[in-house]
């Protein structure tokens, strides 16, 4: 990776850093923060599902672990917010490594892998709904206490900047991956596992690396979610909604591309807000549109929006 490779990700992050200061009202600022959290979760999905070709239906397992760990370590173990966030990411990655170890050792891929990740996320959801440490069905609250060291900002624009910085870091990470041997090996495994093995790629190790990185990034999204909303319950943390939004944003934006998840999150949530306001309080309409967009993307634009942009001659996307 050369310093020139960093220009595009850093420029995009810089642009997004400015947006909070353009005089957005509260609702739009909240939407921006939520977009960044989903973009992060989707980037995590993209590392495994896009670059590695291993579609997961259970990224909630990593998101929820990052979120619960951040919240529990602060409220029950008395740790500071920053170390809690870091440990949340580490624990999310550990859950990824655990699920990956079991699944890849048994050689699961395709539909089987998708289903087993979903089953793991559901086990965690049911368990956390009745466990005492997670606050059970009542959920868990982080005490409101503004301050930099508590990772709570009275001026919500600073939280938006923090979320954008995290997205920027994930862009740099994925750019590094694209340029490093690890990324090349991962793509080789996606394209043809047998051929990659024949060329001496340690398939198991590459997949383990991918799921661990993927889980860490999605875990960070969960940790930010906990810190932003200061409330968690089992349905929010481990519910299938986040597995689905991460997958949708990554695919609609463009699988295996650097900016796909960010584009996907911004477009999907933007479209979602518009349909919600048009539908006027009828529930579920935004998700009907999401589902239809997913089918249309798979059918007509397998490269997602970045792929479309490239086909129309814009340089962005994969550049």
């Amino acid at each position: 990776m050369t310093s020139r490779d960093l220009i595009a990700p850093l420029a995009v992050a810089a642009v997004f850093c400015v947006i909070p200061f353009l005089g957005l009202d509260g609702a739009l600022l909240n939407l921006l923060i939520f977009m960044m959290i989903i973009a992060l979760a989707a980037q995590g999905w993209n590392i495994l599902g896009g670059f590695g070709g291993l579609a997961s239906f259970g990224h909630a397992a990593f998101f929820g672990t990052g979120a619960y760990a951040t919240a529990i370590l602060q409220t029950k173990a008395g740790l500071g917010a920053w170390p809690s966030l870091a440990l949340g990411v580490a624990l999310g990655a550990a859950v990824g490594a655990f699920i990956g170890f079991l699944s890849f050792r048994s050689g699961l891929r395709g539909s089987y892998f998708a289903l087993i990740t979903l089953a793991f996320a559901e086990v965690l959801r049911i368990a956390s709904n009745s466990a005492e440490i997670t606050g059970g069905a009542a959920g868990i609250l982080i005490r409101l206490d503004y301050g930099f060291w508590n990772l709570q900002f009275e001026d919500r624009r600073w939280f938006a900047v923090l979320a954008v910085i995290c997205v920027g870091l994930s862009l740099v990470l994925v750019r590094w991956m694209e340029r490093a041997r690890f990324g090349a090996r991962l793509i080789a495994v996606r394209e043809n596992e047998e051929a990659a093995k024949a060329l001496g790629v340690d398939v198991f190790r590459v997949k383990m690396g991918a799921i661990t990185l993927s889980a860490a990034v999605t875990g960070l999204a969960g940790a930010l979610y906990a810190q932003n909303y200061l409330f968690l319950d089992a349905q929010v943390a481990y519910g299938s909604w986040i597995s689905i939004e991460a997958l949708f944003a990554a695919i609609v934006g463009g699988l295996g591309t650097l900016f796909g998840p960010l584009i996907g999150a911004v477009v999907l949530l933007g479209v979602g807000e518009i349909t919600k306001s048009l539908a006027g309080g009828v529930p579920g309409v935004d998700l009907v549109v999401f589902g239809a967009l997913l089918i249309l993307t798979v059918a007509f634009a397998p490269g997602g929006l970045s792929g479309l942009a490239q086909r129309l001659g814009f340089k962005g996307g994969r550049a």
């Binding site: 579609a55 239906f57 539909s111 049911i126 368990a127 589902g291 997913l294």
Partner: protein, 290 residues
């Protein structure tokens, strides 16, 4: 401890609950066995069928069991259309694409129902929902006895269709050798869609059997879909016998574990069985070794 009579009743009730599970799983395993695809929208289709039964009762005053007459052909047509005009063309046969298209379809259906019917739960009141049948010293719930009988009849009907009819022969030919089948003049896209139609028609039967004792809301099918996948994986992907035995087994396990551990842990038990089977023996009890 519980008296042997209570345990025996619980196990028999589990067997009958398992019969309805098996019915849901039959459709799933049939589609997997022939098309080699995992239909993630199966649960959403079940929800549609259950709303169908509820609508027939609510608007037409139709008995839930009688509404099978409407539901089975309607679900068959829905399945045929979904595979022929949406899933087939959109996914072009790639494993991951099919999974994603059926996921997208299930999200559309589930939330479409949410928009139409809201998230209220709906039930059907019948005279026979709480009736019991006396078999010697045992008291068995009437709707569950009907469920067990209907599931067995459906499984036999499925076996007859697959083994004794022309379309059944065509389905098995496509399952074994797609290219060869199309070379001898079998319309593969049509056979795929017919398989999907039969799988969905099974859901029409399952929905009619479920509604007298269960409720429906837009997420109901999603709760069944993982149970159905567990059964399919346990029985062996694509095996009709496996789905039947797996369904009965899971019903008994759920009934026994909720007798001893309470309801929510019974649910976790099913997911853990699912994970264990996938990790240890992904071909299931009756599946062929790859």
């Amino acid at each position: 401890m519980y008296s042997p009579l209570i345990v025996a009743e619980a196990l028999l009730n589990g067997l009958m609950l398992g019969a309805v599970y098996a019915l849901v799983a039959l459709g799933l395993t049939l589609v997997y066995g022939v098309l080699h695809i995992v239909n993630f929208a199966h649960g959403a289709f079940l929800t549609v069928a259950m709303f169908g039964v509820w609508l027939a009762w609510d608007r037409l005053g139709m008995d839930p069991y009688l509404s099978m007459v409407l539901l089975v052909p309607a679900m068959g047509a829905l399945g045929y259309a979904a595979q022929r005009w949406i899933i087939g063309p959109a996914s072009r046969g790639a494993d991951n694409s099919i999974l994603l298209v059926t996921l997208g379809l299930s999200i559309v259906i589930q939330n479409g129902l949410l928009a139409l019917f809201s998230s209220d739960t709906r039930t059907i009141d019948t005279d026979y929902a709480f009736q019991v049948v006396e078999v010697g010293p045992l008291l068995l719930s009437f709707p569950r006895v009907v469920g067990l009988g209907a599931a067995l009849v459906t499984a036999v009907a499925l076996w007859v269709i697959l083994n004794r009819t022309d379309i059944g022969r065509a389905i098995r030919a496509v399952a074994k050798e797609k290219l060869g089948a199309s070379l001898v003049g079998i319309d593969v896209a049509h056979v795929y869609a017919v398989t999907f139609a039969i799988g969905s028609a099974c859901l029409g039967v399952a929905a009619a059997l479920l509604m007298p004792v269960f409720y429906v809301e837009p997420n109901t099918g999603a709760a069944f879909v993982l149970v159905a996948f567990t059964i399919v994986v346990l029985g062996g992907m694509g095996s009709v016998t496996g789905a039947l035995v797996g369904g009965l087994l899971i019903g008994v396990v759920e009934s026994a574990s909720s007798l001893w551990f309470g309801d929510s842990l019974g649910q976790i038990g099913i997911f853990l069985i699912f994970i264990a089977v996938l990790l240890i023996r992904p071909t299931g009890l009756f599946g062929a070794r790859q």
